[in-house]
């Protein structure tokens, strides 16, 4: 006999435990929770997944996830259409939006250059970024990639690719996180924040 008293139960546990970060015990707990919910709730759960996969779009301009062919941000007339913020993935768009400090457009790369993982420039949306600059009359590209070696490599590659277009390229500031103590800040970050010091204004 299998570890599970029911094949249907085992199938559902297998599905949940195939998700990243979920072990078999957690998967079992989640499945048994769902089993205690009304049938309509479980159907709504299943339906939300099927519909998501069937009906969701990736914006053909910025490659963010969207319910429409062109996402609301790319369609908006109230945003600064001359600035593009380049991010690694969809979550990063949400993170930047939450700051409330940015009102331009986005470009989602769908990854960053990582030779260790076999991801090269052609595997992510760099060509489509370069192709946007002239027709959309973009004035500034803000690189908002992770502050890792892979992020730096990708920043540098994009910078080189954009150079012929003459667009201004900037990157998000690196320095001490707000609310931190110098004593507990790592020396590379602290060193950077001294080098990149900004003029004090009242």
């Amino acid at each position: 006999m299998s570890e599970y008293p029911s094949i249907l139960l085992e199938n559902a546990v297998n599905q949940f435990s195939s998700l990243p970060g979920l072990g078999r015990k957690t998967a079992l707990r989640l499945v048994l929770h769902l089993l205690r919910q009304p049938q309509s709730d479980v159907e709504a759960f299943a339906d939300s997944l099927t519909r998501l996969k069937h009906e969701v779009h990736y914006c053909r301009i910025c490659h963010n996830i969207s319910d429409t062919e062109v996402c609301p941000i790319c369609q908006s007339t109230r945003r600064d259409r001359q600035t593009v913020c380049v991010v690694e993935n969809i979550q990063d768009v949400m993170s930047v939006e939450k700051t409330g400090q940015y009102n331009g457009l986005y470009h989602v790369l769908g990854g960053i250059i990582s030779p260790m993982d076999g991801i090269g420039p052609k595997d992510i949306e760099i060509d489509s970024l370069v192709a946007r600059i002239v027709p959309e009359r973009i004035k500034e590209v803000i690189l908002a990639l992770p502050t890792t070696m892979e992020g730096d490599t990708t920043n540098f590659y994009i910078y080189r690719r954009l150079a012929p277009t003459g667009v201004k390229v900037s990157q998000i500031a690196r320095g001490m996180a707000i609310g931190n103590e110098l004593e507990y800040t790592d020396e590379i970050t602290l060193g950077r924040s001294i080098l990149n010091r900004t003029e004090f204004k009242e």
Copy 2:
């Protein structure tokens, strides 16, 4: 605009984050993972949930989860049909089965008596346990409930309810966990394991 770029995405995240122990960030990560999988995989995931809820049974004898009206354990002729092990839930059946030390039948209460949570004896499968003893000619009931106040209360209640049937009632041993040091065992457990000492045999 909502925090999420897509309503379909938001729905799926809402569904996942309604599960116990999953926050919205984890839910988003799981949904975006599913979105990267082939359509057939996502459909299999959704289907496993719908089928589970539609088709799964609870064994009408022991109330364990089952693909059939009577579960394989209750149907088995190779098990000791005169002993019933009483457990709180389905996971506990799996835990006892994994030990390989038990070959009798089960009875799943579906909860334990907990006045704080408003769960009384009528809310769990105690009547149906009592009703099994005589017709099934049960000789021994093993109480394998949590070693908590609620577990103790439930043990005592079941013991009183079973008394008129004359069935033997036992409970699983309490004492030091295997591999533990006395120094790091709590005093209640250690005290119990001294009181409940067993004869040393070569």
